[in-house]
Symmetry: C2
Amino acid sequence: MVKHIFFDIDDTLFPTSEFAELARRKAIRAMVEMGLEESQEKIYAILLKVIEEKGPNYPNQFDEVCKKLKVREPAKYVAAAVGAYHAAKTAIQPYAEVPGTLLKLRDEGYKLYIASNGTSVKQWDKLILLGISLFFEDVFISESVGEEKSEHFFRSVIKRIGAKPEECAMVGDKPSIDTIPAKKAGMKTIRVLLGKHKGEKGKANAEITNFAQLPKILKKL
Amino acid sequence: MVKHIFFDIDDTLFPTSEFAELARRKAIRAMVEMGLEESQEKIYAILLKVIEEKGPNYPNQFDEVCKKLKVREPAKYVAAAVGAYHAAKTAIQPYAEVPGTLLKLRDEGYKLYIASNGTSVKQWDKLILLGISLFFEDVFISESVGEEKSEHFFRSVIKRIGAKPEECAMVGDKPSIDTIPAKKAGMKTIRVLLGKHKGEKGKANAEITNFAQLPKILKKL
């Protein structure tokens, strides 16, 4: 019987990609509002190119965009973009059913945990902004655990909470780092069919398209 | 006759120190809300010590606070603190009379400029958050100009806007970098008696305690 449930964060608890695009659009709008004389579509295309070249976590994306556009005094456009981007990013919200479902699962006696790849402060920041950080018994972020999600990662966190693998379930959207290694570690697996990985292959014990389906499905595992 | 008016930003257009303290208090409150078992007063005292040791622009203030408090897993407290701190810092507002007075001065035909020490993106970010960034003909930040405010700085920006020193006024709160060097450069000077520098010595052509006094005073200079 499942007693402990581990959750991924990005695209499992909230629509990461949607918010990222919204934040980028708002940043570009702010640059134009500040007087940059380019079409928003052109700037967006350049930004996507920068992200492709430098990776999505490159910290000076908007400086680079200004450089490519040969802007002479970029500070005001960078400030406008970063401010608008950050404001949008701090307005992230969970999928609508997430907070209620997590509380219901707690009421039913399950212990909830986070198992997520990423840097600790950044992932904690998301949990806090989503308003759900206090719902979890413990939070396991790859940076703090010392390795990214893998069969070994899951075996090690299961040991740390003093549980048996078959008492644990992993809920996540990306088969290669969520359901596949969790299954290898002996856990039950539930795949969230949302976000950019929903088309990928990978079997799980159950699949959901809406968080509210979780309590019923857990009882059948 | 004054035609061009230069403004400092911090403690001239908005109460910098007040917002900084508010942001620190909110950050500490968020750490305790996240479960840190210390009194807010004790954490605040430690934060002030960190700022004294590392300087006010040290980027890892809250990591350092957790270290001094020997917190074992600091990520969640750091995330909570940084998020709350940033939210408070992005809620800065100008002194209540500032936007209306700036618009009035524009209507009366004055050209407005910023002359501020600091890094370009950070100072632009403040102008944008204050909602006044589009009021100025040009913005001169020390990082972009290539030197901090001094007689030479003022002579050089006056040349850049194609004006004569006696047509220019400088409005600022800190004598040593605002009114004193501006006076040496031949400008009219108006001192804002607000914020932490209000007790310092330094003569100016006029002193104000409220931005709304500015239009009348400028006519008498």
